[in-house]
């Protein structure tokens, strides 16, 4: 199995899809990479040559932010918002939605599993 950018091992899929196993590479940028290097995106990742892999790695290194550096960048962006005590930073800190969504209901992705409170009004009463 080919290795790219350190630990990531895409598999026996077409190269365009296996590139998306890299953090920061979606289908769009995967196809972009293939196009730039004139590699048929439908070729299996297993028969991508060593030197082609090298070229992919070099291109990713140069023009894309992926994996560790990308994660670090995201964490930094959030960290900056936190440090300056902005509203968005506070929302990140409190684990609540950042972009003004409602929190009376929903928002479960940010808030995590429901914490049932005994004696709280039911749905009927809410209305």
């Amino acid at each position: 199995m080919p290795r790219l950018m350190g630990v990531d091992i895409p598999n026996d899929k077409q190269i365009q899809y296996s590139l998306t196993y890299l953090y920061g590479i979606g289908l769009h940028s995967a196809r972009e990479v293939c196009e730039k290097l004139e590699i048929d995106p439908a070729r299996a990742a297993s028969d991508i040559h060593e030197d082609e892999l090298g070229r992919i790695a070099a291109l990713l290194e140069r023009d894309y932010t992926v994996e560790g550096p990308l994660r670090r960048q995201l964490a930094q962006n959030v960290g900056r918002l936190r440090d300056i005590r902005s509203y968005r930073g506070m929302r990140h800190r409190n684990g609540l939605p950042v972009r003004g969504q409602r929190t009376k209901t929903n928002a479960r992705t940010r808030k995590g599993p429901r914490k049932t409170v005994a004696g709280k009004k039911g749905v009927k009463d809410l209305r």
């Binding site: 900056r80 440090d83 300056i84 005590r85 902005s86 509203y87 968005r88 506070m90 409170v117």
Partner: protein, 89 residues
Amino acid sequence: MSRSSKKGPFVDPKLFFKVQKQAETGRSEPIKTWARGCTIVPEFVSVVFMVHDGRKHVKVAVTEDMVGHKLGEFAPTRTFKGHSGKGKK
């Protein structure tokens, strides 16, 4: 070019004038303001504002990182002390 970038950032003219006056005279005391929607521009760095939160004025010391944000982002309008229940009196 989007409409918003054509229009440029909103900076409260009165507030900007006050900041400039302070920069000229060299005196610096907190500037009270209600202009929460005013964008923080580089000239505001190291100025201290008192931004209205609907009830009182919250002290906001502008740092370089805050440029591009709005003053109101640093003066929360809601006080949430947590829900009642166990662990609370």
